[in-house]
């Protein structure tokens, strides 16, 4: 059984068809890139999967269950976690504090005006675990708002990981980053997938990352699926070349 399945999914906004008859499946443990020119429907796809709005047609199935019209909060509980193109970290809090609130929320402790020492330790351990996972432990006491954009996005991923996602949706994870930060993020994505075995679906524009990291690539263009396959297949696909990579690829 595929982890995520879209069957003939379309989404229209009035007269505009953003996505047209998309069918795809993502297997457990996959690292899948979604690419396509601007306006191809990639973010709409993410919005559908994460429950922002329902599809106009078609079905979305997660772990064998229909999630076609389920709201985002419920999907978070089911394990579909997404990050945003515009970082939404807590700017005036430190990295540690950012992750702490995420962990406490994940543990359902938000209403507690007091917690025992044992629970405090559990929270603290989990935060340390997350910081180690995204390799930001050395910046634990830095205030998020004073960090670089790249670091903020790493914290974002950390927040997403606090919910132990079954399916992680990363919307343009390296957008706006310099080389070093891009490498960090790329390495992080690879580690999360290969070592932590998290299924990841990510939107990317940087072809180096896409071809270097992804197991499988889905190409969208103008709301339709142009091609699907591994790096070699996609690179060789003439339609993809024409639409996206340019003849020189």
């Amino acid at each position: 059984m595929s982890l995520l399945k879209l069957e003939n999914v379309s989404r229209r906004f009035g007269a505009l068809t953003a996505l047209n008859d998309i069918s795809l499946s993502v297997e457990q443990g996959e690292l899948r890139a979604v690419i396509g020119p601007n306006g191809a429907g990639k973010t709409t796809l993410f919005n559908l999967i994460s429950g922002f709005f329902p599809p106009s047609d078609g079905k979305i199935i997660f772990e064998g269950k229909q999630i076609t019209a389920v709201n985002p909060a419920a999907l978070v509980k089911m394990g579909i976690i997404r990050t945003f193109q515009i970082t939404e970290v807590f700017l005036d809090l430190t990295v540690y504090e950012n992750l702490r609130i995420a962990v406490e929320t994940a543990m359902g402790l938000n209403l507690r005006p007091w917690v025992s020492r044992g629970t405090r330790a559990k929270i603290s351990d989990r935060v340390d675990e997350l910081m180690a996972l995204v390799k930001i432990t050395h910046k634990a006491d830095r205030v998020a708002g004073e960090m670089s954009h790249g670091d903020q996005r790493v914290v974002e991923v950390g927040i997403a990981l606090s919910r132990s996602p079954k399916l992680l949706l990363l919307d343009e994870p390296t957008a706006g980053m310099g080389d070093e930060e891009t490498n960090h993020m790329t390495g992080l994505i690879r580690d999360l997938n290969k070592q932590e075995k998290i299924t990841i679906l990510f939107i990317e524009h940087d072809m180096n990352i896409v071809f270097g990291v992804a197991d499988k690539i889905t190409v969208l263009d103008n709301g339709t699926m142009l091609a699907e396959g591994n790096a070699a297949e996609i690179a060789a696909n003439p339609r993809v070349q024409r639409a996206y990579l340019g003849a020189a690829a």
């Binding site: 978070v76 509980k77 005036d92 609130i101 406490e104 005006p113 917690v115 927040i159």
Partner: protein
């Protein structure tokens, strides 16, 4: 760490000063009741700060809960009982209950609308107090009660000061515990980025309403103590001008600092006291304090120091 040691020393000195007020107040031209007033306003402002500085809700009507605490306590002592602590408890509960019931109404809207609702609530209680002459004493205020002895202690100025100090510490302890718990962390996260929390599945308005209720309880306690201090309660305890005073106290001391309100209250009460003794135009001075602190000192006294130690 140097900063930590310095903080400990400052706190220690402050605690020592607070514990010995009745002995040195006279030497600096003050008096014990003035110190009680500082602690009472500080407590009210700390309650307000939970909502304002730590959850991000701009309430311009928190005097309502202060006033309800004052009237509740006063009426209990005037008509029902001789037990000072019971009266204080009832006053606190009355104000707290109002905040608990009205908070959910206020948080249905955000931003300016939220502030406007809090103003409306405050004004309503003010006019009820003014008009309901027979019950509240109207414009002239509620008299006919005074704080009664507890356990054989007459509660003169000095003894009452220590009673206020105890309640202040209890209130501060409550707030401190909450702010360092997951609930408190959630409040702060709401201030920082409501949207993010909503996407993590949190019903933000419920938490703001909870913050509203807790802050109302603390303000009501302060109001009750205020009534016991003056042996008097008046509609002015409910007025938006008092709400404004609490706000400026929070801003003066430092909005995002736990002890900010204590510093702010000390400055405000002392300035108000000394200036009104010196000039007729103390209102202008207070007004200037508002304007200048907002323009040049928006982080408040403690915020100013915190910035410097961080950089």
């Amino acid at each position: 760490m140097i900063a930590e040691q310095r903080n400990k020393i400052v706190m220690g000195v402050a605690a020592l000063l607070l514990l010995t007020v009745p002995f040195w107040a006279g030497y600096v031209g003050g008096y014990t009741d003035l110190a009680s007033r500082v602690l009472i306003y500080a407590l009210a402002a700390m309650g307000l700060n939970l909502l304002l500085g730590f959850t991000g809700g701009l309430s311009f009507g928190h005097a309502a809960y202060f006033g309800l605490g004052a009237y509740g306590t006063g009426l209990m002592l005037a008509d029902v009982t001789n037990n000072t602590l019971l009266a204080l408890l009832v006053g606190t509960l009355v104000g707290g209950l109002a905040a608990l019931l009205l908070g959910p109404i206020a948080v249905r809207r955000r931003g300016i609308y939220f502030s406007m609702i809090t103003i409306a609530i405050g004004q309503m209680f003010y006019f009820i107090a003014v008009r309901w002459n027979s019950f509240t004493g109207g414009e002239d205020g509620l008299t006919g009660f005074s704080r009664q002895p507890i356990l054989g202690l007459s509660l003169n100025s000095t003894q009452f000061y220590y009673m206020v100090l105890i309640f202040f510490c209890l209130g501060a302890l409550l707030l401190w515990t909450i702010l360092n718990s997951p609930l408190g962390h959630t409040f702060v996260a709401i201030r920082e980025n409501q949207k993010r929390l909503t996407f993590l599945g949190i019903r933000v308005d419920r938490y703001v309403a909870l913050s509203f209720a807790i802050s109302g309880v603390v303000c009501a306690l302060a109001g009750g103590l205020n009534a016991l201090l003056d042996n008097f309660a008046s509609p002015d305890d409910l007025r938006y001008t008092l709400s404004g005073n609490f706000l400026i106290i929070v801003v003066l001391g430092g909005m995002r600092n736990f002890w900010g309100p204590l510093v702010g209250a000390a400055i405000f009460v002392l300035v108000q006291n000394y200036v009104s003794a010196v000039t007729q135009n103390w209102m202008t001075v207070i007004g200037l304090v508002f304007v200048l602190s907002v323009m040049f000192f928006p982080l408040g006294v403690l915020g100013f120091f915190r910035r410097r130690s961080r950089a």
